[in-house]
């Protein structure tokens, strides 16, 4: 088996008396899509924030290619966020610069990693806008003139243009039209297959997790209660909470 890109062990985090993470362990390898599911308040988003270095755990370690993420210092972590990592926020406005054109949003991340040739940057931006199905004629428009679904696709293009190895996604299809969701699911999956991108996705959408994820982790009250092959966890759930979660989903 290939070595995991990201490995976390023994993660604990308390907010006052509330345990947000309880002895959580997770790893992810290149080309894998891993979904974290569970109800609101189960610790999914907290886990994503701890894994991506945005929040420090009380105890436990997160390693990126063997390097301790929480010990590496702010500058090194920011560099990671610009290069090997990407973060797709639930609200696209948290991941976009609204006063910069669509093309600028995509090109800016390229410039941050050293691209200087204007023609190349614009060409690359255009090719990514095409990948996320945003019409080339909108390249000079501001994101605030875009619909929510287009903004989300633009955020994904902005995140992926630097070809990160791992992308953290926090409810990326929440609040989108079903048709746009489907397009995004297909896009995320083909990018993972074609570019070997690893994706760690937090979602409460079980149906989306089934179609997208290779593996799934079920969280409840800060704890991973069950994990494994996606279709096995969903079709043959072992933990009472997973059985409840799966049986509560409307068949689609």
């Amino acid at each position: 088996m290939t070595t995991p890109l990201l490995t976390a062990e023994g993660l604990n985090l308390h907010f006052g008396a509330i345990a947000a993470l309880r002895d959580v362990a997770i790893d992810i390898t290149a080309g894998e899509v891993v979904a974290i599911v569970g109800e609101s308040g189960s610790g999914k988003t907290t886990l994503l924030r701890v894994l991506s270095g945005l929040m420090a755990p009380d105890s436990g370690t997160v390693r990126w290619l063997g390097q301790d993420v929480h010990a590496m210092g702010e500058a090194a972590r920011r560099r990671l966020m610009r290069t090997d990592w990407g973060f797709v926020h639930q609200n696209p406005r948290d991941g976009l610069r609204l006063a910069v054109s669509a093309g600028g949003n995509v090109g800016e991340r390229l410039m941050a990693v050293g691209a200087r040739h204007y023609g190349n940057i614009r060409g690359e931006a255009l090719s990514w806008l095409a990948k996320v199905e945003i019409d080339a004629t909108r390249i000079d428009d501001l994101p605030r003139t875009f619909s929510g679904g287009m903004q989300q696709r633009l955020q994904i293009a902005r995140t992926l243009v630097t070809r990160p190895k791992l992308v953290f996604m926090d409810e990326p299809t929440g609040g989108l039209d079903v048709s746009v969701q489907a397009r995004l699911l297909d896009l995320i999956r083909s990018l993972s297959r074609e570019l070997g991108l690893a994706v760690l996705i937090v979602t409460h959408d079980i149906a989306a997790a089934r179609l997208l994820a290779d593996r799934i982790l079920v969280m409840r009250r800060g704890e991973v209660v069950e994990q494994g092959l996606t279709d096995r966890v969903l079709d043959d759930p072992q933990h009472p909470y997973t059985q409840l979660l799966v049986s509560s989903v409307l068949a689609a």
Binding site: S179, A182, L211, D214, R215, L229, R232, D235, P240, Q243
Partner: protein, 232 residues
């Protein structure tokens, strides 16, 4: 010759936590071995656990006890205890499954759905699309449907998409759950031919065939699956 897939003492029970922890034993001590080029039909009354056995063989259901040894790559892998990543690799390279239901990302065209597992195995995109298209034609799915997502297709059309997706890659082991359930006589004949060609090419096949004509045409032997209490 070692079997392409074999089970040793395979058992499976379901514990329903939402129903007060009711435990339903389904399979007990199943020993099944299937060799390359052989087609085995699971046989037994409705509710005996044929589908459960199929799902265990694919790793879709976890097993309670026993082993499922699949000849994969240079060695064997136990699907019961394997890491999920290894099960995924085994499904990509070695183990195909044609279920009764087509479950795919919405809005993806039929020809891409059929090509996807071949592309995952490293077949160049154009070749995968060509092979998929040829198989869809053979299964009498009209060309005008190839570019459409299968969500609005009839049951029989969806089943043929599923069959094309399952047969096109040429997996060494193929699981077929009622592959002709929604098909007319002409397409049933195509499926029987596909199964026999796969056998001739060395594929080990395990199937549930309720249709006696199909079963007799393709199965080399029956494997009896009995309700658990009878088997004990």
């Amino acid at each position: 010759m070692t079997p392409a897939i074999r089970t040793e003492g395979l058992s499976k029970a379901f514990t329903l936590h939402l129903q007060g922890g009711t435990r339903i034993p389904v399979l007990g001590g199943v020993d099944l071995a299937v060799h390359p080029g052989e087609c085995v039909a699971l046989w037994g009354p409705s509710g005996a656990g044929k589908s459960t056995l199929m799902r265990c063989l694919y790793g879709n259901y976890g097993a309670g006890a026993g082993r499922i040894m699949l000849r994969h790559g240079a060695g064997e892998i136990d699907l019961v205890s394997a890491d999920p990543r290894d099960v995924i690799a085994a499904r990509r390279e070695t183990l195909g499954y044609v279920s009764q239901f087509l479950r795919v990302i919405p809005r993806v065209a039929t020809r891409d759905i059929v090509a996807e597992p071949m592309i995952a195995r490293g077949v160049p995109r154009e070749e995968a699309l060509a092979r998929g298209t040829a198989l869809l034609h053979r299964l009498n799915l009209p060309e005008r449907l190839h570019g459409l997502p299968p969500a609005t297709f009839s049951g029989g059309e969806q089943q043929r998409v599923n069959l094309a997706r399952g047969f096109a890659p040429g997996y060494p082991v193929l699981l077929l759950d009622e592959p002709t359930a929604s098909l007319d006589a002409a397409n049933r004949a195509v499926v029987m031919a596909l199964i026999n060609e796969a056998k001739a090419a060395g594929t080990a096949i395990i199937g549930i065939f309720h249709d006696a004509e199909v079963r007799e045409a393709v199965a080399d032997r029956l494997f009896e699956v009995l309700p658990h209490q009878d088997a004990a």
